[in-house]
Amino acid sequence: MKIIILGAGQVGGTLAENLAGEENDITVVDSDPNRLRDLQNKLDIRIIQGKASFPAVLRQAGCEDADMLIAVTNSDEVNMVACQVAHALFNTPTKIARVRSAAYLSRKGLFRTERGFDIDVLISPEQVVTNHIRRLIEYPGALQVLDFAGGLVQLVAVRAHHGGPLIGQELSALRQHIPNVDTRVAAIYRQNQALIPKGNTVIQVDDEVFFLAARQDIRAVMSEMRRVDHSYKRIVIAGGGNIGERLAESLEHEYQVKLIEYSPQRCTELADKLERTVVLNGTATDKNLLQEESIEDADIFCAVTNDDEVNIMSSMLAKRMGAGKVMTLINNAAYVDLVQGGEVDIAFSPQLATIGSLLTHIRRGQVKNVHSLRRGAAEAIEAVAIGDEKSSKIVGRAIEQIILPEGVTIGALVREKEVLIAHDDLVIRSGDQVILFLVDKRKIREVEQLFAVGITFI
């Protein structure tokens, strides 16, 4: 595919890196020549310097031939205009834009209407991150929680701990432990090495286990891997920006939420908008403030300011002062691995979270959902099986008959809202949403071809 990426920042750069390895023809446009050169030094891509929304620049970038335009510059306006230019002048089939400002996003008529901007997909990193944090809070102890089929099925990553009944036992014992619950362990990472789980695989302490189950069964499966943390009640959020506000808003009716914000003016705004959240004016790295607000009673401390240093430092401080679990937003994706696992329980970057949403629309076939896992090495995808026995390689076949690439497992299906865990004899039908786990995301091309329909599909 010919893809033009506008913006060579963190999202654009990471995206280019993800796609350049997959037989795509990538052109990156940015106004900053240094950023472009850095990117070209490590990747096999074409670069164009210039203002990303100018028709001449887009033409030079090959917009007349491009299958897809991904506008992820720092400016909402440039992203929106670039998509409109591509639509009006170049008839570009797929246009994706990152738009952050609620001022635009909240106006429904602005996008995908006859008079509005012709943008196929809008990506809002703030929304992606807020959802991500929310799901983690719903399942105490989970490292990662991903939704499939509109949340009917979830993929959960959990670290096995002493006290979990399944520790030291074979996976097949799960069936006896929780007979009423159907689940599928998709992958196990032991000392950062992927294991393909089999019935006789023995779960060890510190294994990172990825499993799929229907939403209502997640807790039951988690409690097999570790003693489950009690439900969270008290949450302290540091940073009242976009993410902090959305997060507080989505949590305040189920939890006791306190929000720390530095700017007095912003505090007044937040206090007006939020209904039940206690808004505090101050710095998250202020020991006295944390003490006054009895941080030791907080189940979760979540740092989402726009300053990585403040996030990391306040998280460490909160943890040392007795906060239950600390979650830290880190803009510099390279630091995520350094920070997570020490005093910080969970670190996440908006860039990595956004990549998944973008990849969803870039994959071929009927791919509906893509989540990038393990710093982009692995992927979990949801794809719809279409066609019939003749035109499809999977429809009408039992899972055991399907030849999957190495390291790829089918975890579950959703058929008309019903969750079916993938057992060997389950036969795939047209319309099934199939959830797959890829230990090595380089196998994606083969998976796409498996789901692609043959020539006789009209």
Binding site: M1, K2, D25, E64, D65, A66, D67, N91, T92, P93, R364, G365, Q366, I386, F451, A452, V453, G454, I455, T456, F457, I458
Partner: protein, 152 residues
């Protein structure tokens, strides 16, 4: 359904500039909307693109058979295009494509249309035919080569 029922001489083209898959499908959409006024170029383009997303119609050996259902189309419409330069079509064998047979079928496409597709795929799997199609610069001859009844 025989191929001569769906392909006319006017819709047998050669020497069409390639560029890219997108550009060729765009070129075809405009062309067919001029030929058959009740067809809408934008609809043809977006339907073809949508079908390609589900799986490339590049069947290998430099051949592609893009097709889709289309509204306001009462019978199957075929168009043959030989490109001047080969283009990347995301084909099954990864090879670039220069022989393209496009097929538009009515919304309520049926078994007969499926068989037409299968017939086309079979026809273009003939190495001799592909060789001839790449040599000839006479529209009449191109048309004849493609529509000749298959010797049984």
């Amino acid at each position: 359904m025989q191929i001569n029922e769906i392909l006319t001489l006017e819709r047998t083209l050669f020497g069409v500039p390639g560029g890219s898959k997108k550009r060729v499908l765009e070129y075809f959409s405009k062309f067919i909307a001029q030929q058959i006024p009740q067809l809408d170029a934008e609809e043809v383009f977006s339907r073809l693109i949508a079908r390609e997303k589900l799986g490339s119609t590049g069947i290998g050996q430099g051949v592609a058979l893009p097709h889709c259902r289309i509204s306001h189309c009462d019978q199957a419409v075929g168009t043959f295009i030989r490109l001047r330069d080969k283009i990347d079509f995301d084909a099954i064998d990864g090879q670039p494509v220069d022989l393209i047979f496009l097929l538009l079928v009515p919304e309520e496409a049926n078994e007969a249309h499926l068989q037409t597709l299968a017939l086309l795929a079979e026809r273009f799997s003939d190495e001799e035919l592909r060789k001839e199609l790449r040599k000839t610069d006479q529209p009449e001859q191109l048309h004849q080569l493609i529509t000749a009844p298959i010797p049984s």
